[in-house]
Each structure stands twice: as C-alpha cells, then as structure tokens.
C-alpha cells in the first residue's frame, strides 16, 4: 500500500454548469386556434430535439422555464427552473391582450446576478408573439433597456419568432429583443414555419450557448455564435388557406 492509497478522495460539491432556458409565449386572444395549438405542439416536439442536440455536451445541465403573457405576464412553468429531462409543456390557452413588456420584466427579474449562477452558460430566451405589445410604449422601451443593462441580459441568446402575417406583429418591436441582428426576427407565417423555427431556435441557441470553451474577448460581436436559420420552409404543393396563419 502506498501513501496515496491512504488519501481520502476529496469530492467537493461538484455540479454541472447550468444553462437557463426561457420561453416567452404570447397567449393573447389573437393566438386562438391554429397558432396556439401549433405553438403548443411545436414546443413539445422541440424538447427531444434539444435533448438530442446537447447530448454531445454532457457537461451542460439545461434548466427550462416558461412565461406566458396576455393581459398579464405569469409563469407558465416556473419560476423554479425545471431540468430539461423533467420539463413538460402544459397547453397554453389564448385570450386577452399582449403584455410583452410585462413578460420581459418578469424575465429580467430572473436574470439578475443574484438569481443566476455566475458560472452558468449564457441563458437562452425565445420570445414568440403574433401581435403588437399593448403595454405602454415607454414600458416596453424601459423593459428592453433594463434587460440590456443586466449582465446576463446582455450575454443571453435572445431570439424572437413573429407569428402570422408580417403586418400582424410589430417586427421592429420584436427586433429590440433579439440579440443577434444578423438573424433578425424569424417570420413564421405558417404552422410549418412556426414549428421549424421553434425547433431551430431552441436547438441552435442551446447548442451555441453550450459551447462553453474560453474564447478571446473583443474578437466577436456576440459571445455565442449561431448558425444561420433554416432557409425558407417550403409548403407542400397542395397547400391551401389552412396552411398559413
């Protein structure tokens, strides 16, 4: 027996680094019908895709939450984060107006340095909306400013999906939420596109944020690199009016 055999194993409080993932889902009245049902189904279908994509990064523990907003913003799943393996998306029901600013405020509360793990990966925040924010414009601007001033808000991967025809949602408003200008607002004017973009955004952002290796500072505009979004989703030939929102 050598002296090293006698040394007790020092275990410490070892834990995987967490990646906080936030859905911000519009469930206002205009989302009724196909939009909300597609959103519910698409998020559920994206979960196993995210799991598979990040399986190459076993050192990452994704914790997921969801904010639903209409007249008010409230936790759909949360505020306690749920491990991706245990995350279940309950169906959202549509009704009311579009309190986007309130949702961003609720998100910002959770991105404070006190609540987030300093050693975590950049959070992922995906905003889904089909309308104009009905909160005061000044409140929306203030919510965005607060988000941008928070360290984790700046480091977050923030993507937005506009649901429906372009005139139905405020692209410039959603763009203010987006962290990657070159990606812009993902325009989902059909159920297929909404499903595709939800899957792409959630997977790409999770994988991008999971690449936790050190990189030189000041050499990139973004701390998380994302691949380009999927090219235009092709509708089937016999598409009819039911295939667009």
């Amino acid at each position: 027996m050598t002296s090293s055999d006698l040394v007790p194993v020092l275990e410490g409080n070892i834990a995987k680094r967490t990646l906080q993932f936030f859905w911000l889902a519009d469930c206002s009245g205009s989302m009724k019908g196909k939009k909300i049902s597609t959103l519910n189904q698409a998020v559920r279908e994206a979960l196993p895709e995210i799991k598979e994509a990040v399986s190459a990064h076993p050192e990452v523990q994704i914790e997921m939450r969801a904010i639903a907003f209409s007249n008010e913003a409230a936790w759909h799943v949360g505020p306690e984060p749920v491990a991706l393996e245990d995350f279940v998306w309950p169906d959202l029901e549509a009704g009311g107006i579009t309190g986007t600013a309130q949702a961003i405020e609720l998100l910002s509360e959770e991105l404070s340095v006190d609540k987030m793990n300093r050693r975590g990966y950049p959070p992922v925040c995906i905003l889904l909306s089909d309308g104009y924010c009905t909160d005061d414009e000044s409140r929306f601007e203030s919510a965005i400013q607060t988000l941008n001033e928070m360290p984790w808000g700046r480091k977050a991967v923030r993507l937005a999906i506009g649901i429906g025809q372009e005139h139905q949602y405020n692209e410039q408003e959603l763009l203010k939420f987006v962290s990657h200008e070159e990606i812009g607002v993902l325009k989902a004017d059909s159920p297929e596109k909404l499903t595709s973009y939800i899957q792409w955004a959630s997977v790409a952002a999770s994988v991008g944020a999971s690449v936790g290796k050190s990189r030189m500072s000041k050499d990139d505009e973004h701390n998380v690199a994302l691949p380009p979004p999927p090219s235009e989703v092709t509708l089937v030939e016999d598409a009819d009016e039911d295939d667009v929102f």
Binding site: S3, V7, G12, K16, G212, R215, M216, S217
Partner: protein
C-alpha cells in the same frame, strides 16, 4: 494524458497537475491545459508554478500547443529575470508587476511564430496566426520572502497566509463573461497582465492556482473556496506528494461530473514536506 509535476523547496513543497476534460475525450480532442513548475536553489532560491488554459474552440485549434508554450515561456522568463534581478528585491517586484507580462507575451509570440513557421501553420483570413494558439496563463512565484501572482485571462488563484484564511487576489469582473477571456494572443495582452504580491506566509500558508475547468465544476465561488480549504486540510494531513498523486483521478471525476473541461491546478505549500527531497516528475497516459 495526465501530467503531474512536484517537488520541494527550502520553505515547503509544490505540485501541479493537468487532466484532460470529459468533453475533450468525447470529442477526440487533446488536453488544452498545461502546467509547469520551476525552482532554483542555492543562495537565491525561488519556486514557480505556471498553468495555462488553451481557448479550445474551432478558431483556436492549436491552443494545446499555445498553452504548453505559455507555461514553458513563463517559467523560463521569470527564472531568467530572477537571476538578473535577484540582488534587488524591489526591482524584481517592479519587473514582475510592470514588465514581466510584456516579456512573457513577447517571448510567447516569438515561440509561436517559430512554431507556426516550422509547422507551416498560417493565419486565417483577417486574423493573426497567434489566435490559433490562443491561451491564458497564470503564474505563482515564491522568491526572496514574497509570493508573486499574475495572470492573463481567466482561471482562479487563491492565497492563504495561515492555512485558514483565504484571499482571492483577483476580483472577478462585474461584467459576467463566462464565454470569453483575455488571451496571450490579444494585441494588447501585456496590458491585461494582472498582478498581486504578498509577504511570504508563515508555515501553513499556501498558494493555489487552477484553470476554470476546476472552478466551473462548482456551482458557486463559495463551493470552490470550500474545496480549496478542504484540499489544504488533506494536504496538511497526507502531504502534497501523496495528494498530487491522486489529482489526476480526482480531476477526472470532477470533469466528468462537473465542467467537462480540462482541469489543471497547482499549489505551493509553506512549512510542509520536510520528508520530501528532490523533484519528481510523473507523466502517465490514461
């Protein structure tokens, strides 16, 4: 690849070890951390522990070489400079705080230039060739009654003057930046050379340095600090030689259960290890 170095000096013992990260094993990548120790004996003894963390993403595809070069250069430049300044303690302190960073950065770039030219490595469009070798570097040095610590980039350093208290000489930036780091490959790398100088601690004091692969295996700074203190307690009981022999297996379990990143750590302990004589170097493939 596990790598361990350890030895004794007139005031105590030192050791350093690197272990490849779980994610690098899974991706078939090399360990991009490196460590090296150095010591001088005689009238003007000194001890140096250097660790480096290659950046590792695709744009820094040769950062394992960059990290190995960084620790070699850091130990060599500080050793040579100590021999030059050893009669003038204040001058060496000034050198360490104000000029050593510049000298190490310059020497690293010269070594990388030579390495790249020899291997036919070229820069990517619009980038410097140094970026492909990008790495951090951290050094802890004991000489002439002082402990000197410095770093370029991320990683953790702790100092204990008595084996109980624990100081973090480098306050983390207020802007959270877990994905990026300062680098020897930056144009202005010598400007981000951070330093701290402490009087030599009493027996029982120590210096601990690690790459972020270790600290990121803990949920909080408090957990990391608690680990460092527990580690010293184990070292005090079992000796640094025995403990450092265990480091590769410990670090392997930490990277699998924690950060997934390469893990490197080094320690200089004062007042321990009188029974350890002579420097030993272990290298073992895992």
């Amino acid at each position: 690849m596990s790598h361990v170095e350890r030895g004794t000096f007139t005031k105590g013992v030192y050791a350093a070890a690197s272990e490849i990260g779980a994610s690098h094993i899974a991706q078939g990548m090399p360990c991009q951390d490196a460590c090296k120790t150095g010591e001088g004996r005689g009238w003007f003894p000194y001890t140096i522990v250097a660790v480096a963390d290659g950046h590792g993403d695709q744009r820094h595809d040769l950062s394992d070489i960059g990290a190995a070069t960084a620790v070699e250069v850091a130990v060599r430049e500080l050793s040579n400079s100590w021999h030059h300044y050893k009669l003038y303690r204040k001058s060496f302190h000034d050198f360490f705080c104000y000029d050593a960073g510049r000298r190490i950065v310059r020497a690293w770039r010269q070594a990388i230039t030579h390495c790249a030219e020899t291997a036919g490595v070229t820069a990517r469009p619009g980038r410097s060739v140094y970026e492909r070798y990008g790495t951090t570097v951290q050094v802890a040095m004991w000489a002439n009654g002082y402990v000197l610590m410095a770093k370029v980039g991320d990683g953790e350093m702790r100092f204990s003057s008595d084996g109980i208290s624990l100081q973090n000489p480098f306050v983390a930036p207020s802007d959270l930046d877990s994905q990026t780091t300062h680098s020897l490959a930056m144009k202005d790398a010598s400007r981000v050379w951070q330093t701290a100088v402490y009087p030599e601690p009493a027996p029982g004091g120590y210096v601990f340095v690690s790459t972020d692969g270790l600290s990121n295996s803990f949920p909080t700074d408090q957990d990391y600090n608690a680990y460092v203190q527990q580690l010293y307690n184990v070292v005090e009981t079992h000796g640094l030689e025995a403990v450092s022999r265990s480091w590769p297996s410990w670090f392997s379990s930490y990277t699998h259960a924690g950060s997934g990143d390469d893990i490197t750590a080094g320690m200089i302990c004062f007042g321990l290890g009188e029974d350890e004589r002579g420097k030993q170097h272990d290298s073992a493939r895992t």
